[in-house]
Symmetry: C2
Subunit: 266 residues, 2 copies
């Protein structure tokens, strides 16, 4: 089972910011419906750059999205107050929080929200010492965060570890360190899940789409089972359907054949 978090409702995208400022419900509903129909299992809600009225904006976005689709939400914000608003309004299934880390203030403000809303949690492999470089760097943070979350009563099945993808254009081993992190996490914590965004991997390089797409295939091969991405990108979704069939996670290739009949595979 793959978790696909649709990333399009994010006010860092200029068109979304404009729609939000104008309280253009139709534009947001259109993004919600298109992502749900394309296979998003969660819809990300991020208005973190609306710093003057993030909580009010979060309320409007969550209500607008839920007026049109019944998909669970991934509430995504640097602000614990905005997370609290979004989570409190989430009506369909258990919500997800994006994200917790081992930075002290972040951990202490987000942990209570996990408990309060029985939320699933994206866990960034990062602490107050900064961004990790190697797989071993990441595993130190993973062990620490897993221990603290476990002690707080969060189940492994509710944790979605994000290994933090960095550009291969600056460090050539950035991709394989992520692959190695997935292998180590799966080996040490077989019941946790994964979540990652992709676009960082290709930062600074041309033809970014092919790098992002093949990095999905590579990480899936090692066992990654969650992505924050644009599910309306047919090429990405075709690659995911195909990779699942190749990995034996598609009974009788039924999903693959259905995707072929729908024209998704091109």
């Amino acid at each position: 089972m793959l978790t696909i978090v649709g990333e399009l409702i994010n006010t860092s995208r200029p068109a979304v910011k404009e729609a939000v400022i104008n309280r253009n419900k139709d534009a947001i509903i259109d993004l919600a419906i298109r992502q749900a129909e394309a296979g998003a299992t969660y819809i990300d809600v991020n208005c973190g750059n609306m710093i003057n009225n993030e909580e009010e904006t979060m309320e409007w976005l969550v209500n607008t999205i839920q007026s049109a689709v019944e998909v669970p939400l991934c509430i995504d914000s640097p602000s614990a107050a905005a997370l609290d608003v979004g989570l409190g309004l989430s009506r369909y299934g258990r919500p997800m929080i994006n994200s917790i880390s081992d930075e002290e203030e972040r951990f202490d403000t987000v942990l209570p929200l996990i408990k309060k809303y029985n939320a699933k949690i994206v866990v960034l492999c990062m602490d107050s010492t900064g961004m990790p470089v190697t797989a071993d760097d990441r595993m130190k943070v993973v062990r620490q965060l897993h221990k603290k979350l476990n002690q707080a009563g969060v189940a492994d099945d509710d944790m979605y570890f994000d290994p933090l993808v960095k550009p291969i254009s600056s460090v050539g081993t950035a991709g394989i360190e992520v692959l190695e992190t997935i292998r180590k996490i799966k080996s040490d914590y077989p019941n946790v899940h994964f979540m990652c965004g992709l676009s960082n991997i290709s930062y600074g390089l041309p033809n970014r789409a092919i790098l992002n797409r093949l990095f999905v295939v590579q990480t899936m091969t090692l066992g990654m089972d969650g992505y924050v991405l644009d599910p309306t990108n047919n090429k990405t979704m075709a690659d995911i359907v195909t990779a699942k069939a190749l990995l034996g996670k598609d009974n009788y290739c039924g999903g693959y054949i259905k995707a072929h009949r729908s024209g998704l595979l091109g």
Copy 2:
């Protein structure tokens, strides 16, 4: 370093068979040049279905190809006599034999040719009990063949293990058993190489090209370093160049950026 064996000069392809029967040098030379220019590090020569005059055909093909390109050849035949002819005429670099297995007669007739021509060898994970199903089935054969080849003085660096790819349409785990075989071989024999054909993986399914291409990406992720494929297929080669960059095997993404500038990435 990836080994790409260009597969197009094979008389099982009707157009090639016709060119061979008509001794159409230009057609064969065109295939040889196009494969070499597209990045083939070996050119496969297979006329195994010309059963009435395979040895004479092999001689003509090898001489024709070598009149145009200076790429080493992969001599591919069920017949030891035809292998002997092709290997004896190979002039550029060390030739490769496709293939040896642990079927008794095959092993005994091919081993002397490896020694006689100092050839590299594709090693099929197959014995007289038939085609393997699981990774463990394959590893039994791998251990047996590695031991026998090693005792005969064949270096690990000259062995190219072919895990034998089978269709996911008949057994859903066919792909992951191959991935697991690669992982086990790399763990137990870190200095050997790999070789595989791809098209079997997608047999019986629609849109076979996307399955074949993503299976290259998946197997490369586990460490496979050799493929028998059509190097003139730009999408396949674009995926390979991209996967190498993501796996940290492309210094400063130089090969990727070059492929972008050449238009290969689309």
